[in-house]
């Protein structure tokens, strides 16, 4: 694009955005907007040793029509800073390789470059050399050297507002020759109002307060985008420097749109094309999936999809994913595709996904459509313990040069923002913590005057206002780059010629500088390799039962659904949470599709959109199922007229409000953007008016829109729900028919799921399964099933290691285990076994075993036989029941003997409490009740506006507590830190179709955790000072396990 620049036009070519982490203070979008506002001809974004922000700038500039140069500001160890703008595609590749080289040399998130490196890669670049405060002989030498590299070189001149500006400009002009001087303003932020934030960022970066920062801060606030006329005035007498910008703009022809992405080449049998090969595989797979022949509709769908894939050229992408899944299958790793990919019949035929198009009505356009113009996105879940094998396979197959993980940009959130800002401004630590704690309640007006006053702070204090104002500006600005969970980018040519690749904190991993949004925007391909704990659990259970594959599980077993209708779902995928278990008896699933709905319904989307209760009412026959309009029957029929899924929202937009598929897609995109739910506002009018114009009621239209807005945080696509429902069914079937093996598999796959081992074991016992404690004579590392009883494995013992367990296995194979044989294990292993009571079968009680374990020498076995048997133990005090229970919890996190509450019930502080079971059975709705229990789950769901849900457990069962927001603040300390809670509250009973759901609405809580430490000593009160001086329980060995906390 060549146009001459008039004397009054200007283009800023040295702008740093917030992706110069903690140096630039404005988002790339803000820079673009401001440049447009000022009427600049173009903008050049150059962040320090990175191009992490350029895609965002590119998208913003393209949308708003601003010419953008993308490049990077390179910092050298042995030379001045150089802004590098690639002139063409090859130049961009060289820049990426240069940055990759620098990052590879440096420690985490650093970059080390030398001028030699630039010399190798300078062809095809336009370079702007940025001089130091005073250009000296060394700089002149560097400039000469750079000028000889074969790139186009200019010298950047900025007005620094120093007394020697005029002299400096003269000197620079002399160095460069007037023709090669280019005017810049070395911009750090888009507008003068950002100066304080930039100062604060410097302080954060240097780790000092603003009062100490001194000369590290800029002396003035002039480093912002300025109007062309002002820049012309500042460079009066150096008009050539401004005109030089036009030369640079003409020399640089590259934009990010020039990057053409190519899928990796997949091996295709000779004589076939990728499309042909894919088709062959798909038909072969369909034959396996439908042994009796595929229904005509499915065949048609597959054919249609293959045509579209061929038209868009995506065949190689499917082949790549197929290859990865194939590897996993060959290794016996369970995997399953999720997300929108489950909308594809071809994926089902290939075995990538598990959603049968014959059962679920799929919307392929949700996954791939001709208009979208962007590659599909296939996410695959793998067993979480074996995901690493898949990752290494990908690296091995594609090589580090063609495969890397996507980045995740970590942005400032309110809590981190106020912490960093508060520290930089020198606020008191207590004040900062109070402000940070307020961000605990999302959704409320953050740091509003009332909340400040409630917390005891003065909203009028200037220090406070300043800190809050700056923290608000800082929120959502990028803080640093981190590695994404599992999104892989794979390319045919070198990846580091598309985007810089740098090493991650984990060894043998590398990641690129762009995140998922950037990748989508540029059309690169990404495969998400994700981890799912339940897949590990299922496979382990299959191994115990001899089942080969997910497809071998009998479908639609009514006993499974009976179990789910009872709400008996601990351990079952997705439906085991408190909220889900409450929903099961209400929704009463009887078919697979009911599970699909169950998975999707207990989510913030439908809850916020107020669609849950209407659905349940209709399902239970309390309300008529009327369609809002005949046109929507097809869309909403299977959910009884109530929109529950993303695809339905899209379809409503298309059919009821007249959106085009492209616009519906935009809407879905806006729904999926986690960070800016407010972007949906634009669509509000459009949709509501569109629906009203087509005869729908305004009320319904607004409700529909509100639900869609709720999806902004997290909504489900139907296909995704269906994929998950598949696993729900399989795990429920295993729990129903093989509860012991299922419990063992759950325990062997921890950490995962909603519950702690203690609850899993309790649930197993409630179902009549005998549970045997870990014992050195019978236990392997994993939990196993012995004649229908669950034998806890040695992995349950805290601190125990798998290699020790392997050694014990070996010893057991040789001969009977006795203490002399065990003496070959390290002392720590023996002590762990002793403390867990696992040496019981050797005839030693805990204390005796502990004594012996402490004595055993660790010398290597002598040829004379096992070591001299240690002397018999002295007489040690007998362990009381409570001490056993406490020791059990300390060692394994659970106890088979008794529940701590059973032992503490007689303690004075629990006087007047009743058991959870009693409350469940006897207390009426509205009745006052006092309870006590161990905290097992804490939840503060975002959809609940600050309500906290707590589950407590005592010797008879559990109770679900609700703490309303009004009480949360007052009880915050107890909620956050108590392990044992005393509760006073009112019972709330709801009966629905003869299933009772009981909650306790909390009035007050008491932190009774210190009582847990008394389990050891249920004696009369002992020395007074012992508790006082050395007070709280020792942190490293808790008597109660930690609870699971969810937000």
């Amino acid at each position: 694009m060549t146009r001459g620049i008039l004397m009054t036009e200007y283009a800023e070519l040295a702008a740093a955005s917030a992706f110069s982490f903690l140096e630039g203070a404005s988002h790339p979008q803000e820079l673009v907007d401001q440049a447009l506002f000022l009427g600049h001809a173009a903008l050049g974004i150059a962040d320090r040793n990175t191009v992490a922000g350029v895609v965002r700038a590119h998208v913003a500039a393209k949308r708003r029509g601003l010419r953008l140069l993308v490049g990077s500001r390179l910092g050298f160890e042995d030379g001045p800073d150089v802004i590098a703008y690639p002139r063409d595609r090859e130049g961009w590749g060289r820049l990426c390789r240069l940055l990759s080289l620098g990052k590879g040399r440096a420690a985490k998130s650093g970059c080390r470059l030398r001028l030699d490196d630039l010399e190798d890669q300078a062809a095809g670049m336009a370079l702007i050399v940025m001089p130091p405060p005073w250009p000296d002989a060394a700089f002149a030498a560097s400039l000469d050297r750079i000028a000889g590299f074969g790139a186009l070189v200019w010298l950047g001149a900025a007005r620094r507002y120093a007394p020697d500006d005029a002299a400096r400009l003269e000197a620079l002009a002399a160095l460069a020759g007037r023709r090669r001087l280019v005017a810049v303003n070395d911009v750090l932020y888009h507008a003068p109002s950002r100066r304080p934030l930039q100062d604060v960022m410097r302080c954060i970066r240097h780790g000092c307060t603003i009062a100490e920062a001194g000369l590290r801060l800029e002396p003035h606030g002039e480093r912002h985008l300025k109007p062309a006329a002002e820049m012309a005035r500042l460079f009066r007498g150096y008009e050539g420097a401004i005109a030089a910008q036009a030369e640079i703009l003409e020399a640089v022809g590259f934009t990010l749109g020039d990057i053409h992405y190519e899928y990796p080449d997949e091996p295709v049998p000779p004589g076939k094309t990728p499309d042909g090969h894919l088709a062959d595989l798909a038909w072969a797979g369909a034959a396996i999936r439908y042994p009796g022949g595929a229904p005509a509709a499915i065949t048609a769908t597959i054919r249609r999809e293959l045509d579209l894939i061929a038209q868009l050229g995506y065949a190689r992408y499917f082949l790549t994913v197929n290859d990865i899944v194939g590897f996993a299958r060959r290794q016996g790793i369970l995997c399953q595709g999720r997300g929108s990919a489950a909308n594809s019949a071809v994926c089902y035929a290939l075995g990538i996904t598990a959603v049968d198009p014959a059962e679920i009505d799929l919307l392929f356009e949700r996954f791939v459509s001709a208009e979208r113009g962007e590659p599909p996105d296939i996410d695959v879940d793998f067993e979480h313990e074996r995901r690493e094998e898949v990752i290494q396979y990908i690296y091995g197959r594609y090589g580090r040069a063609r495969a890397a993980i996507a980045a995740a940009v970590i942005h400032y959130r309110p809590r981190s923002a106020i912490r960093d800002v508060g520290k930089a401004l020198g606020l008191e630590a207590a004040t900062i913590e109070t402000l940070a704690a307020q961000s605990w309640n999302p959704g409320d007006a953050l740091w509003s005057d009332e909340r400040l006053r409630e917390a005891g702070l003065d909203p009028a204090s200037p220090d406070l206002r300043r800190a809050i104002g700056l923290a608000r500006e800082l929120v959502d600005l990028p803080r640093h780059l981190s590695q994404h969970v599992g999104g892989f980018v794979l390319t045919r040519t070198r990846l580091d010629e598309i985007v810089p690749v740098g090493p991650a904190a984990m060894a043998e991993r590398s990641f690129i500088e762009w995140d998922k949004d950037d990748i989508d925007a540029l059309g690169l391909m990404k495969v998400d390799v994700l981890a799912l704990g339940m897949l590990t659990c299922i496979r382990k259970c299959f191994a115990l039962l001899g089942i080969a594959d997910l497809a071998d599980v009998p479908r639609e077993d009514p006993r499974v659904y009976d179990m789910l209708c009872r709400g008996d779902a601990l351990g079952v995928f997705q439906v085991e949470s408190r909220a889900q278990m409450n929903m099961l008896p209400r929704l009463r699933p009887r078919t697979f599709y009911d599970l699909v709905i169950e998975v999707a319904i207990v989510r913030p989307g439908p809850i916020q959109g107020d669609m849950v209760h209407p659905y349940l009412r209709r399902r239970n026959g309390l309300e008529a199922t009327n369609m809002p309009s005949p046109a929507l029957r097809a869309v909403l029929g299977k959910t009884l007229g109530v929109p529950l899924f993303q695809e339905q929202a899209m379809r409503i937009a298309i059919e009821a409000a007249g959106f085009t598929p492209g616009e519906a897609n935009e809407l879905r995109r806006a729904m999926a953007t986690f960070r800016s739910p407010g972007a949906i506002e634009r669509f509000f009018t459009r949709m509501v008016e569109g629906m009203v114009a087509r005869g729908h009621e305004r009320d319904f239209a607004e409700r529909c829109f509100r639900q869609i807005e709720g999806f902004g945080t997290y909504g489900f696509p139907e296909s995704h729900a269906a994929s998950f429902a598949h696993l729900v069914y399989v795990s429920a079937w295993l729990k129903c028919h093989h509860p012991a093996e299922f419990a063992a598999a759950l325990l062997n796959s921890q950490p995962m799921g909603f519950y702690q081992p203690a609850q899993i074991v309790r649930d197993a016992r409630e179902h009549g399964i005998a549970v045997r404690a870990a014992d050195v004579a019978a236990s392997a590392w994993d939990c196993t099933v012995e004649n229908g009883a669950l034998r806890l494995g040695l992995r349950m013992i805290r601190g125990f290691r798998a290699d020790w367990a392997a050694r014990i296995d070996a010893l057991r194979a040789e001969r009977r285990i006795g203490l002399p044989e065990l003496a070959s294990l390290p002392k720590a292993a023996l002590e762990a076994l002793a403390e867990a009571g696992a040496l019981r079968s050797l005839g030693m009680g805990r204390r005796t075993a502990l004594w012996q374990a402490g004595l055993v020498d660790n010398a290597p076995p002598s040829p004379l036989g096992p070591l001299s048997c240690p002397a018999a133990a002295p007489e040690l005090p007998l362990m009381q029941h409570g001490e056993h229970v406490a020791a059990d919890y300390r060692a394994t996190g659970l106890s088979l003997r008794a529940h701590p509450l059973g032992l503490l019930r007689s303690h004075p502080r629990l006087r007047g409490t009743i058991t959870c079971k009693d409350m469940d059975e006897r207390v009426q709705d509205g009745g006052q009740v006092r309870l006590a229990g161990l905290v097992t789950v804490r939840q503060r769901p975002g959809s609940a506006k600050g309500t906290v849900f707590i589950t407590i457990e005592d010797e008879t069962g559990i109770a679900n507590l609700i703490v309303w927001p009004a009480r949360v603040e007052a009880l915050r300390q107890e909620i956050v830190s108590a392990r044992l809670l005393g509760v006073r509250g009112r019972v709330q009973r709801g009966v629905e179709r003869d299933v009772t759901i009981v909650h306790v609405l909390v009035d007050t809580l008491a932190d009774l955790s210190p009582l847990l430490d008394r389990l050891d000593r249920l004696d009369p009160p002992e020395a007074a000072s012992e508790a006082g001086g050395q007070g709280k329980s020792r942190p490293e060995r808790r008597t109660a396990p930690r609870s699971r906390d969810f937000h």
Binding site: Y161, A162, P163, D164, A166, A167, R195, P196, D199, I210, A211, E212, A213, G214, L215, R216, L217, P219, H220, G221, E222, R233, L425, P462, R466, E835, R847, L850, W851, G854, L855, A871, P874, E875, L876, P877, L878, M879, E883, A887, D1016, R1017, E1022, A1023, A1024, S1025, E1026, G1028, G1029, Q1030, R1034, R1037
Partner: protein, 428 residues
Amino acid sequence: MLSIWLAAGLPASNPSDAPAERALDQLALRCQGFTPLVAPDPPDGLLLDITGCAHLFGGEARLCARIGAMLPGARIAIGGTAMAARALARHGITSDARLDTLPVTALGLEAPVARRLHRLGIRRIGALTRLSRSEIRAGFSEDLLLRLDRLHGRVAEPLHFLPPPAAWREAESHHEPLLTAEQLRAALARLVIRLCDRLEAAECGLTILQVRFRRVDARVVGETIGFAAPARDAPHICRLLAERLNRVDPGFGVEGLEIEGEVAALPAGQPELGGAFRPEHTQTFDLLATRARLSRLAPVASHVPERAMRRIPVTEPPPGWPPAGHPRPVRLFVRPERIEVIAPVPDDPPLLMRWRGASHRITRATGPERIAREWWRHESPEAAGRAEVEMLRDYYAIEDEAGQRFWVFRTGLHGGARPPRWFIHGVF
């Protein structure tokens, strides 16, 4: 042995006191009134060896009562050994509890051993007696055995008792009141010489010396002098005191004099300390310091010129100044003065300046050097109300026809709410 445990924490006597160890030491000094053998037992206890002292206070019970009165909230116990007393104070419920009933944690064990004892169910010291020595050694640690031995007095526990403090005081009384300066000088000289002899023996020097005169009418007047470096040169000290004597009003006569000082280490034959004061210089500085306030300047990291330096005492070594940044005037006015200026807008240097009634035509200038306000500082409420808070200054170094150079600045930009004002801040 008597053990005091400050269960309620150290008494908050003097909040400005240095860290807790010093506070504990001072408390120990106070307890030296009961026995000369006092050892601090950090972090919050004291041990007193009261062998042979108790009867002076009317018996052990009365002694405990007196200590208890002095230190409210403290727990006091007496035991046969230091370890026993300590254990009883911290863990005994009543003052005559038996050792056997105390918990094992009273032995001050390391965490792993304490944990093992707890796990094995051995909770009280009495339970340990059921184990043989070899069992204890094998099952736990040598350290546990040692502590038990110390508890029962089989092995002695080393304690570090505080030495009594020396008082650097000398005093004199007179039947006939001293009236003349001559007499006072002579008396002071005597005291000073005695003190300096003691200082020499202890290898210390005075850092501060207080002089107090007790007058006939019972009023006390005094002076304090400080020294640039620790001093024990008697003539020098007397000369300094002589200077100050002019300010002392003896009234109808002085009955008693007292001098008291604080000291710091001063080894004999002070070696050469590069960069610090040499002995002969300190005395000059001391003399000057008694007549006038001396200070020197140190740099402060700030862009704002008037905040870029601060005063420090002369005694501190000369600070390093950062390498020259932008040129600064030799003389900076404490308060900038208003001037009138003719300058092209918006930010060119001035052409004409009028200051203190004189006109200057400007021939050369550099600038503007822009220094923006330090936005994080509060303006005083009066200042905020009185004048518009300045947002920035543009400084210019200017030279007039006569060759004089000035440093002027303009606050605010043209086109703002108020017209900008010009000031002169210094001369080169």
